[in-house]
């Protein structure tokens, strides 16, 4: 196994040198989308004209000798809960279908400014609520490694688009694992930055205290380049923090020798899937081989993460999603009476999982329950954060599996919301603690499904995670063994 090519870095370099034009790169991406997305359903909207226009501008800028951005000509897909000026943004929900935001999300704006070519908007679980994209109002995304399986969620479309080479990179959003889990299921690098590292401005909120925008790429280095572009303070987001953005690409070159890796032994051992266990063992060997030292750590309160998450996230969501009422934008089911109009609009506009979470959250915030549920959950969050603080006394990164299993089959968990929620059991604790966490491919099952390993870092220490992930990738990366093989497409 070996590291995959860093197509983002290479493309930007080739475009800068004039070896390739941005229009060529863009057309290739658009052609692949046309050819494969019928099977994958990764895209909700392909912005052919906008993408070609952006690509032409990059080529013109080069022709005029203007300096090019670090992502010049790189094709990027955007999760459809990030606002894109004038381009439909639906959150995969009927209630927002066809809405065209008058502004770009901060991360989208930064990508454009860096010369990226945004090819389209990717499918997701409605309002980012789900772990399989089966909650999309516009049909699920297929896992490019095995079309009978889910790509993970909620950012399934963004993960699948990169895995299948429909775009060279993509943005997703991660609330409780929505970048990392599909990253693991689709065999791509997935980054959930520290809360406050990337602006949430223009990210349509699911759970405001947890949501973070993060990239998907084939290689760790590519993710580093995207993070250097999208990270940084944004005065439009009061929770965005003013912290210097280090050179993440340089961190990818730092050897892992001397790195202290804390293994969450109980989580590794909780994995019943033998192949995921084997991939974890291989990962630990690889890290040892790279000169890292391994220590066991425990997160005593992590076992409460699922309960805490489904109180906090649903409570915030119940309030965040109140604005979809048919009055100002999106779907309106006309009725003579205001209350009926709002009720009918929401009844027809939201899917069952979104309704379930709004109800859970409304209940959690209700008079007489707030202290026992929401407030208590927030206190447990603090305890989880302290578990990590203690762990970081003895290690630099915390390691666990990203998911308990590889990608599951469609319908396998839709009947049982709780089973679905457990798909996020390992990704929730870092989210609740606000910590940066990556999922890095670390092997394939015998059946050819990718497995991911999750690395969690100290607040704002993404650099160390890039360093550790690069070490794993160098030894266990999926190389050019790409998902496109499963699409009958060896090109």
């Amino acid at each position: 196994m070996s590291a995959p090519r860093s197509i983002v870095v290479q493309t930007a370099e080739a475009v800068r040198k004039g070896e390739r034009t941005a229009v060529e790169v863009c057309e290739e991406s658009l052609a692949r989308i046309e050819r494969h997305d019928g099977a994958l359903n990764a895209f909700l909207y392909v912005d052919r004209e906008g993408a070609l226009e952006a690509a032409r501008r990059v080529d013109e800028a080069r022709a005029k000798g203007e300096p090019l951005g670090p992502l010049a000509g790189v094709t990027i897909a955007i999760k459809d809960n990030l606002c894109t000026r004038g381009v439909p943004t639906s959150c995969a929900s009927k209630i927002l279908e066809g809405w065209r935001p008058p502004y770009d999300a901060d991360s989208v704006e930064r990508l454009r400014a860096a010369g990226a070519v945004l090819v389209g908007k990717t499918n997701l679980d409605e309002f980012a609520m789900g772990s399989s994209t089966e909650n999309s109002a516009f049909g699920p995304v297929k896992n490019p490694w095995d079309l009978s399986r889910v790509p993970g969620g909620s950012s399934g479309g963004s993960a699948a688009a990169v895995a299948a080479g429909l775009s060279q990179a993509s943005l997703g959003s991660d609330t409780g694992g929505s970048v990392r889990q599909p990253g693991a299921f689709c065999g791509v690098t997935a980054v959930k930055p520290t809360y406050g590292r990337v602006s949430r401005y223009g990210l349509i909120a699911f759970a405001s205290s947890l949501d973070q925008v993060g990239p998907f790429t084939k290689s760790v280095r590519d993710a580093a380049r995207l993070m250097e572009v999208i990270a940084g303070h944004d005065p439009r987001d009061a929770t965005s923090l003013e912290r210097e953005v280090p050179r993440y690409e340089a961190a990818c070159d730092e050897p892992a020798k001397g790195l202290r890796v804390g293994v969450v032994r109980s989580q590794v051992e909780a994995v019943e899937d033998a192949e995921v266990r084997a991939a974890m063992d291989a990962t630990l060997d690889a890290l040892r081989d790279a000169g890292a030292t391994l220590v066991d750590v425990e997160l005593p309160h992590a076992k409460y993460a699922v309960s805490v998450y489904y109180l906090v996230a649903t409570a915030e969501a119940s309030s965040n999603l109140a604005r979809f009422d048919g009055v100002r934008y999106g779907l309106r089911v006309s009725r003579d009476d205001l209350v009926e109009m709002v009720e009918e609009t929401r009844a027809q506009g939201f899917g069952p999982e979104v309704k379930r979470r709004i109800m859970l959250g409304t209940y959690a915030l209700s008079a007489g329950y707030y202290d026992a549920f929401y407030l208590k959950a927030q206190k447990v969050r603090t305890l989880i954060r302290r578990d990590y603080d203690a762990a970081f006394e003895v290690c630099d990164v915390v390691l666990s599996p990203t998911t308990p299993t590889p990608a599951f089959e469609f319908g396998a968990r839709t009947h049982d919301p709780l089973a679905m929620y457990l798909a996020d059991i390992f990704t929730l604790p870092p989210s609740l603690a606000g910590l940066p966490a990556f999922s890095t491919p670390c092997g394939l099952t015998k059946g050819g499904l990718p497995v991911g390993v999750q690395l969690t870092g100290r607040p704002f220490d993404e650099a160390t995670l890039f360093r550790a992930s690069a070490a794993i990738e160098a030894r266990l990366g999926l190389g050019e063994h790409e998902a496109r093989a499963f699409l009958g497409d060896k090109a």
Partner: protein
């Protein structure tokens, strides 16, 4: 027969005088074309996020300090969740269990008796948009979001008020203070100072409160008084006849001169307050609080007391001159330009008798017919004896009309007093010579004739003679 006492608590929504809204850069100005002062944030578009307006926070602290509140070094925004189209996000960003200001008080005076009224809290919140019903004769309701997100300070009193008169005094006092510290423009008509009243009654001597009603949307001091008086009488009538007060929201109907039911409390909401996850806690250092405290101007009460004690004004005059911050400023500027505090009473009298009728106030703004320095110029001439008080009024009228300075008017119209003693003496001698009979009478002991001579001299000098000088010379020549 049982006698009852009223228990009243007031909630005031005061719009903070910021240039922009509480969470976005849109103008907070009143009266623009509908939906022109809007952006993704105040329209609650998906993905838009609030960023607190630092100026609003400062004004809230300022108000808290002026009202004797404890300002919290950590306070928090919370979401108040309910569905209504005037709320663009279907929650209002407000403050709940950690308001910025707490535990203040305000001293009112009714019928010469001072009373301390507690202020429970003052918290920041965003205003809602405005629903306009039946626009263009249709059945539709349209929404103007210009007002959405405008910063408000909600100031909640303790239930310490016992009469409509006390409530009115409290409101006037509160409004005065907020205007003097530049936090609110006190404009009831435009809704930048709004009041809701919680009213209940209980038998005198009873500890626990009766069931209260909430009076909403009362937009003038007159209505506040009438509405509360009516409501107290209504509740007494209900209870005296064996009925029970229903907890509900009522409003003052001016046409019918009574309060009427708006909605009953059964429709009350569970607002599901929780800390707003988009907004970190507001942290204010003790140093910042102290520096804001140090920047507070003299409050109206202190000003009034100073006018009385230091300048010798009557309490009534002091009250008139502190009736609006700009009037007080004008008074003080005039006095400062004259450079003599002892003239306070004279300046006060002239402003009240001559200037105020030309003054128009709108909110915090006031227009004056002349500049304070110009008025000081006029009053300085009176002090020098160049003109007398009567001429000063004439000159002032001329100043208002032409905008010219007092000196140039006096000069061009030849209004300067005849202060040349020799000339005046000659004038007076002429008067005495022309009225020998009256001179005889005076010398024969008829003192009353003295006034006749003064009148004749003033007439002869067209009123420009300094009356004091006239009297002196008359006495000498007659003596």
């Amino acid at each position: 027969m049982t006698t009852y006492e009223a228990v009243i608590g007031l909630e005031v929504h005061a719009q903070l005088l910021t240039r922009t809204k509480l969470f976005c850069g849109c103008s907070a100005e009143y009266g623009a074309e509908p939906n022109t002062h809007v952006c993704p944030v105040c329209l609650g578009l998906p993905g838009a996020l609030p960023v607190p307006n630092e100026k609003a926070i400062e004004l809230a602290i300022r108000a808290g300090l002026a009202l004797g509140c404890k300002v919290r070094t950590t306070s928090r925004f919370a979401r108040k969740n309910y569905f209504y189209p005037d709320l663009s996000k279907n929650y209002q960003t407000s403050q709940y269990d950690e308001p910025i200001d707490e535990h203040g008080e305000l001293v009112i005076e009714v019928d010469g008796v001072e009373k301390r009224i507690g202020i429970t809290r003052a918290h920041l919140e965003e205003d809602a948009a405005k629903n306009v019903h039946g626009e263009g004769g249709g059945l539709h309701t349209v929404v103007d979001y210009n007002r959405a997100g405008t910063p408000l300070l909600e100031i909640v009193s303790e239930p310490d008020l016992r009469s409509a008169a006390e409530a009115e005094a409290y409101l006037k006092k509160l409004r005065d203070i907020l205007m003097f510290i530049g936090v609110n423009d006190g404009n009831l008509e435009e809704g930048s100072f709004r009041c809701d009243a919680n009213v209940s009654i209980r038998p005198v001597g009873q500890e626990e409160f009766g069931t209260r009603t909430e009076l909403k949307n009362i937009n003038s001091f007159k209505f506040v008084r009438k509405a509360i008086e009516y409501e107290i009488a209504r509740q007494e009538a209900v209870v005296s006849s064996g009925g029970k007060i229903v907890q509900e929201t009522r409003t003052w109907n001016e046409a019918q001169q009574k309060t009427v039911t708006m909605r009953s409390k059964e429709e009350a909401h569970d607002y599901r307050y929780f800390p707003c996850p988009d907004l970190p806690p507001i942290r204010v250092s003790e140093e910042r609080i102290e520096s804001i405290r140090a920047s507070l101007p003299e409050l109206p009460d202190a000003k009034r007391a100073r006018y009385v004690e230091q300048l010798g004004l009557t309490p009534y005059d002091a009250g008139v001159l502190t009736g609006h911050p700009e009037i007080a400023r004008f008074f003080e500027a005039t006095l400062a330009a004259l450079g003599d505090e002892k003239l306070g009473k004279k300046v006060a009298n002239f402003i009240q008798s001559e200037v105020l009728r030309f003054v128009e106030t709108r909110g915090l703004e006031a227009t004056f017919p002349v500049k304070a320095e110009a008025l000081a110029g006029l009053l300085a001439l009176v002090e020098k004896g160049s003109i007398n008080g009567k001429i000063a009024k004439q000159v002032f009228a001329e100043m208002v009309e032409t905008g010219a300075s007092a000196e140039s008017i006096v000069e061009s119209k030849g209004l300067a007093a005849v202060t040349d003693t020799a000339a005046l003496e000659a004038e007076i001698q002429k008067v005495l010579d022309a009225n020998p009979a009256q001179v005889e009478q005076y010398r024969g002991g008829k003192q009353a004739v003295f006034g006749f001579f003064v009148g004749q001299v003033m007439k002869a000098t067209k009123g420009q003679a300094d009356p004091k000088a006239v009297q002196e010379i008359l006495r000498r020549l007659l003596g």
